[in-house]
């Protein structure tokens, strides 16, 4: 395994709302290795976006980081530096980290570009601020970046305003902005959710392509397991502000251990399911305004044990890379396998997507 670029330990974040404190992130651990892609999957409200916004320190004013550390390892002037990002001030983050070493692509390209600034200016801005480039150097590099993200006639596009470009083009521009300073880490927060399917595939290809060229590490947030299978090396499944299972993409798809992951995988629509009812996980996520006792997923889990309602399960080790937080993995737990129908559905889904996607990922 290559060196660790980013490691999040015991991150806990709460939101101040009019109804009280919401414990949105409850002890998240996550590692990102050089040149690899970690996908964070989970349903809406599970805390995926908040986790990565904490890395960039761009949480809103009512969101507070209670504890934890985000250690970022990078090279500065030839020396290895290990920095806890949560110890930096917002100003230091802006000057040293944001955009320069860690960059982020957002969900909706229609709203994430400044409508009153030319895209050329928006791409050049980061380079002028962080790399102290002259305007003409920045201009040249911006042209290169636009070509890299697959925009034709870059000279012409430099003078355009965001409203003159389509959604897919705008997302390419956002990616170009974020790559401007050659960051070590790229965070993609559902970058294809707002785009139509054909454009989605192209953007995914683009990100993979760039990763192959620059060896950048990527954190990819999505609720689309099809996307996960396409881009990820490692997967972290998030539920109610915790990572409940993590492992390599093969381990998660072929040998999932957490009942929530089973549910997620079987609720993935596939081509053969025309006449079947689409599977959904029963119930809804817990209200994090209340303190969660035991396993947050227990009330929705048909395989729940008594202990699930009393004590929170620790991360059980399945393999060196595969961990899952479910009491079902305890030595004394009854052997529970996912139900046959789930097994069959997962097999079917995996077979369908697997043939092409499950091949070992190659970068070179």
């Amino acid at each position: 395994m290559s060196e660790t670029v980013l490691s999040i330990r015991n991150l806990s974040i709460s939101f101040k709302t009019s109804n009280g404190m919401v414990n949105a992130i409850r002890g998240v651990d996550l590692d990102l290795h050089k040149g690899e892609t970690v996908a964070i999957v989970g349903e809406s409200g599970s805390g995926k976006s908040v986790t990565v916004k904490a890395i960039m320190r761009i949480l809103s004013s009512n969101q507070r980081i209670n504890s934890g550390s985000i250690t970022f390892n990078y090279e500065r002037d030839g020396k290895r530096v290990s920095q806890d990002l949560l110890k930096l001030s917002k100003k230091e983050m802006r000057n040293r980290i944001n955009g320069k070493r860690i960059a982020m692509v957002f969900q909706d390209p229609m709203t994430s570009l400044n409508p009153t600034m030319t895209i050329g200016h928006q791409i050049m801005e980061g380079m002028i601020i962080h790399l102290k480039k002259s305007r003409s150097e920045a201009y040249e590099r911006a042209l290169e970046l636009l070509t890299l993200v697959g925009i034709t006639a870059p000279e012409k596009r430099m003078k355009c305003y965001p409203h003159q470009l389509s959604g897919g083009m705008r997302q390419r521009v956002v990616i170009a902005i974020m790559l401007a300073c050659n960051p070590e880490v790229l965070i993609c927060d559902e970058p294809t959710t707002a785009l139509d399917v054909t454009i989605q595939a192209k953007i995914l290809e683009l990100i993979k392509d760039i990763q192959a060229k620059t060896n950048i590490s990527v954190i990819y947030i999505t609720h689309d397991l099809g996307v996960v299978a396409k881009v990820a090396d490692y997967v972290a499944v998030m539920y109610a502000g915790k990572i409940v299972e993590r492992g390599s993409v093969n381990e998660i798809f072929y040998d999932p251990k957490h009942p929530y992951t089973w549910g997620l995988l079987s609720s993935m629509p596939d081509i053969g399911s025309e006449n079947e009812k689409l599977y959904t996980i029963p119930g809804s996520p817990p209200n994090l305004l209340n303190k969660v006792v035991g396993d947050a997923f227990a009330p929705r889990n048909v395989h729940a044990l008594n202990i699930d309602f009393k004590q929170e399960p620790p991360m059980f080790k399945v393999s060196d890379t595969h961990y899952a937080a479910t009491w079902l993995l305890h030595d004394n737990a009854p052997r529970v396998e996912m139900s046959d129908t789930l097994r069959k559905r997962i097999d079917k889904v995996v077979k369908e997507v697997g043939s092409e996607w499950m091949q070992p990922h190659s970068y070179k």
Binding site: S60, S61, N98, T111, L113, T116, E125, G126, I177
Partner: protein, 313 residues
Amino acid sequence: MGRYIFKRLALAAITILIILMVLFLMLEYMPGSPFNDEKITAAQRAVLDAKYGLDQPVFFRFIDYVKSMLTGDFGVSYVIQKNMPISTMLEARLPVTIQIGAQAILLGTLIGLILGIIAALRHNSIIDTLTTFISVIGVSFPSYVFALALSFFLGSKLHWFPILYSPAKPIVSSILPTIALSMFTIATVARFARSEMIEVLNSDYILLSESKGVTKRRLIFIHALRNALIPIITVLAPLVVTLMTGSLVIEQIFSIPGIGSLLVTAIQINDYNVILAVTFIYSIMFVGIMLLVDILYGIIDPRIRLAKGEKHG
């Protein structure tokens, strides 16, 4: 941009011509005449009418009026100062009105913007609440209430500023009327600036700029303020109208020899040419402000500039 401005200019000229026509017709059909004195006989009135050309059909008078107006001749006053050219009257009075109006709009916009931006940045703090409080007061009270309050406390009680305007001290004596006149602008601009800035600061592109590592100052002034200004500029035009109507009363209270007080007097005694000239000047100022707003709009918002003006190449 050039074509956009030219189009706006042409539209403004047409607007002004239409305003002039409407004004002319309204005066024509208004009851009474400048020569309402009961001692004047019908024969004398006919002589007077003939002397000033009032016996001509309205159409020819209008053509005549526009022709001489273009050379800067607004005719003469019939009653207020007999046979005094109106352009001479305006020459003395217009600068005062413009000075105080401009001071008020500048002060109002500047202070309004500062208050609004600070309130948005310190959302839900004491400053924010204070700004909301000032806004509510500024919008609810008419400007003459402030005028009276200011001249009572700061003028009569504390003697900080003169109560009345004096041409000898045009700056010091214009401070109180300027403040009184600008209160509404301050309140409205602050309210808009606050809500717009809060909205813009929560937008995705500000989040993206933050992720890009833009300095705080750039974030606020280059990325946020420019976008927040677009809707604020929209309300500036109606604000100027309120300012103009406000100035009629303010000029009376501080006895400012401006065109506002002239208009009030002229309306009371049917001095046609004076009414026409002053209303016309107000219209020009209003259309001018609208034009300025439109041009500013185009400069700030590329979506408008590119949609309405030059084609993008």
